[in-house]
């Protein structure tokens, strides 16, 4: 019983964070047909902004999280306007956008190394304290992380399905030519998507910095899991991504609790391979991934 609670609790925590990361990836894939390989680095930017604000500048936690999300959005804005806009709509976009992702990612990673150095850093928790159910320790900090993640996922879903600009993002993703004929400015929409996606990555990074140690490798790990989730959920599908995030989160958590931490990653990848054999376009993928 305690193991079960532990596993479910862990799964929800992982799932929420995977969801935030993966949703950013999937939004960009849907709108721009680009796999943003800099996504993990954007996560790292959020992490370090939050750490610098909280520990160096003594900014309180909540504004620090917001500034981290905003700051990362600004980096995404720069990536779009400085690099991606130049190759947008030109032949070779597929490969070009991948290269931009790798390049921007490297530049960000190395800048972080230069500025903050290689030492692993520690963030204080959002809210200290724990709650115990039998031998299961529920960390208040984790609960806040989950709450923030879930709230941002819900707000984003509402934005995408109800607001004029959110619907326009979906329209551009599904049928860019028709979207242009409705007067939707596609480039502006791409920019909005990039900023939202970066903000999500930055917020995820900032949130997780209160859970794990702050180190440069965490960006790559987060990117890897986000990629697994998006592939699993069907690239470009918001609904599929959110489902997949919690599914993979729970899977990882159950493997950790019942079979040991070492089995988690191999298990997740094995599961993904089986899944891709059975359903190559993902859980909710629609062939050429048109859904957003």
């Amino acid at each position: 019983m305690e193991k079960l609670i532990q596993a479910i609790y862990g799964g929800i925590v992982y799932g929420s964070i995977f969801g935030m990361m993966a949703l950013g990836l999937t939004l960009i894939w849907g709108a721009l047909r680009m796999l943003n390989l800099a996504h993990g680095s954007l996560y790292l930017v959020g992490t370090y902004i939050a750490w610098a604000l909280v520990t160096l500048l003594k900014v309180p936690m909540v504004p620090a999280l917001l500034i981290a999300a905003l700051g990362t959005a600004v980096v995404g804005f720069g990536m779009q306007t400085l690099f991606l806009n130049r190759i947008l709509g030109k032949p070779g976009w597929d490969v070009g956008s991948l290269i931009v992702g790798v390049g921007v990612g490297m530049a960000l990673d190395q800048s972080i190394l230069l500025i903050f150095g290689p030492r692993v850093k520690q963030m204080p928790p959002l809210i200290p304290g724990v709650y115990k159910i039998g031998r299961v320790v529920i960390n208040y900090n984790f609960l806040v992380v989950v709450a923030v993640a879930v709230i941002s996922l819900v707000l984003l879903s509402i934005f995408l399905s109800k607001s004029r600009h959110g619907l326009a993002i979906q329209a551009v993703s599904q049928q860019p030519d028709a979207a242009q004929l409705m007067g939707i400015p596609t480039r502006t929409v791409f920019l909005i998507v990039m900023c939202i996606s970066a903000a999500l990555a930055g917020l995820a990074g900032a949130l997780l910095s209160t859970v794990y140690q702050v180190q440069r490798e965490s960006g790559a790990n987060a990117m890897l899991m986000a990629l697994v989730v998006t592939i699993f959920g069907g690239l470009g599908s918001v609904k599929g991504t959110i489902w997949a995030a919690y599914l993979i989160g729970l899977l990882q958590s159950f493997l950790m609790v019942y079979l040991g931490a070492g089995t988690a990653l191999p298990g997740v990848f094995l599961f993904m391979m089986i899944m891709l054999v059975i359903r190559p376009s993902g859980l909710f993928g629609l062939g050429e991934a048109q859904r957003l």
Partner: protein, 233 residues
């Protein structure tokens, strides 16, 4: 209203339109006739800003469209219903229609416009919460027209509204477009046969190999069967 002068345009290096000139006046229904692959769609796509012209001029109500972005051209009142409808497949019918009213001025009036569109196409009201990809061919065509009407269009450009539809549906679609035209909207319609000119078109242009080879009123064109047969077969 719309005035196209010596327009030259194409894809990449190859020119498709060789100095096309045509005009649509206020309230008119103009049909652009021509066989497949002779530049009708290219002409409409150039007018709506999806393709940049390499030479020539497009004017609408005194504004020069040839320098504008597609969004600005829609805002000016020129709305293009594309060939093949191009619905947003994973949005509902209602959401598709709302996207037709994306621009701020149209968005403010979206409720009235929605009522008007539902009145003209009752089937869209019935289907309003269905995903667009679940619609039949005829319903998709109605959706494409309805979506175009959600904007503040002054000129509606319709590209081959008969494409891929059963004959009885084709009649209905043309009847709807005629109603739209009667309600005061100018229409420029591209078509590959002359079946629907009578009782619909005010004037007709014949486009071949990217050039206008003939123009006239609908009556004049219909009398000249030899000409139509020669070009359209």
């Amino acid at each position: 209203m719309l005035k196209v002068t010596n327009l030259e345009a194409g894809y990449g290096g190859s020119i498709v339109l060789h100095g096309v000139s045509l005009e649509v006046r206020d309230g008119e229904a103009v049909v652009l006739l021509g066989p497949n692959g002779h530049g009708k769609t290219t002409l409409l796509r150039t007018i709506s800003g999806l393709i940049r012209p390499s030479a020539g001029r497009i004017e609408f109500d005194g504004k020069v469209l040839s320098d504008m972005s597609p969004a600005e051209i829609v805002a000016a009142g020129v709305v293009h219903i594309p060939q093949g409808d191009l619905p947003f497949p994973e949005l509902t019918v209602l959401e598709n229609l709302l996207m037709g009213a994306y621009l701020p001025d149209a968005w403010k009036q979206r409720k009235q416009k929605l009522e008007q569109v539902y009145e003209l196409f009752p089937v869209l009201r019935e289907r309003s919460n269905q995903l667009a990809r679940t619609l039949s061919g005829g319903e998709r065509r109605m959706l494409a027209l309805g979506r175009g009407l959600m904007s503040n269009a002054k000129l509606l450009m319709v590209d081959e509204p008969s494409l891929g539809l059963a004959p009885f549906l084709i009649e209905e679609v043309y009847r709807k477009i005629r109603d739209i035209n009667k309600s005061g909207l100018s229409v420029l319609l591209a078509d590959e046969n002359a079946d629907h000119i009578a009782g619909f078109a005010d004037r007709v242009y014949l486009l071949e190999m990217g050039s206008i080879v003939s123009e006239g009123t609908a009556e004049e064109m219909l009398k000249n069967e030899a000409l139509l047969a020669a070009y359209l077969g």
